[in-house]
């Protein structure tokens, strides 16, 4: 796999790397046995700090998703549950219906986004509380 960076995202670089491995696992692009790029390879292509790569790999190791093999590299050992495609379709449909009715009520794309972000934040704070 190949990593890329979004410097303006406000997400810490190591978290961006972790998220990209998560996504690759969820999409089935990475499977147990696959090797992650070495720190040296990532660093040479992205010009980022090697400690950042190691930190991301340690996080992934703690989650049980990858394991370093000394002298060989870091390998995928775990899987992430792939979301049921039928569930994805169902939620996309209900969201589309919601979006159409919001549009019909005169809400702009920006307002809709603001509502979505606020609701998402409320939800995650309920989970924390």
């Amino acid at each position: 796999m190949e990593f890329h960076l979004n410097p303006s995202s406000g997400v810490a670089t190591y978290q961006q790397l972790v998220q990209q491995v998560h996504q690759a696992l969820q999409l089935g692009l990475l499977e147990p046995g696959d090797q992650l790029p070495t720190a040296q390879q990532v660093v040479a292509s992205l010009a980022i700090n090697p400690n950042t790569v190691l930190k991301a790999y340690r996080d992934l190791e703690r989650e049980g998703l990858v394991r370093p093999r000394p002298g060989m590299g870091t390998f995928v050992v775990g899987r992430l549950p792939r979301t049921d495609p039928a569930a994805q379709t169902r939620f996309r449909k209900s969201m589309s219906a919601w979006l159409r009715s919001a549009r019909a009520a005169g809400l702009s794309a920006e307002e809709i986004e603001a509502i979505y972000r606020t609701a998402l934040r409320d939800c995650s704070q309920e989970e924390i509380a």
Binding site: V11, T13, A39, A47, N49, N51, Q125
Partner: protein
Amino acid sequence: MTMAIEAFGVGRRYGRRWALTDCTLSIPAGRVVGLVGPNGAGKSTLLHLAVGLLEPSAGTISVLDQGARSGPSQLERIGFLAQDSPIYARLTVAQHVRMGQLLNRTWDAAFAASRIKNLGLDPSQRAGTMSGGQRAQLALTLAVAKRPELLVLDEPVAALDPLARREFLQTLMEIVAVEGVSVVLSSHLMADVERVCDYLVVLVAGRVALTGDVDELLALHHRLTGPRRDVARMPAHQLVIEQSHVDKQTTLIVRSQEPILDPVWNVTPVTLDDLALAYMRQARDSAGPSSNGLELAR
């Protein structure tokens, strides 16, 4: 734990003017440290003190747990790249490598040769006819071939175009990954610092305004946007670093160990750029108009 640079109350005076005042710092080894601050903040002075080119007027500074000016064996442990990648315009690439070999007790000729080859440099070319990026790469190669434990780089990419800058940083990070060398570099380019550094030191008007692990600093600071609010009414554990108010809205950058739960605030993360600038402004404003002539036009 080995400390790359440790300074206690370090000051340096040029004539009557203090370029650095009461600088106290502990930077662990094994990091890539970004030293940032406005022009005249004392960045170059601090780096020159660390490599032993200058002697402090006050306080003590040690590098890799040894006094910064403790002798030739200490110099072997440090690779220094002064501003504008110093090279000798009339010497060829090969002559630079030969010079490095003759002037250093420790010298990794194989590293230098393979680096020159990988960079595609022509050994017979005079340095004066090379591009800025090539000169910077040559200077970096020489600094690393002496096998230092600490690399000190003063504005290494300031004069380079974006492509040469990226290539220089790629080389530097690869060296860090393979050789495990500690790095302290000064820069004005926050985007570069954000990419390559895992430790930040903000210097303003000769003083340390902020220092710490980059990820910890980012996790500790938040931008709050919400209805207009007097900062005197903020909770005690939320330290306001920067504030701006318009008619109905207040925007703050706060430092807080705890998550911001007050629902009136829209909380967003800050970038390293925002953070460094906020601390630079805060330090400049609190220093007052008398110090170092850094007056505020208001």
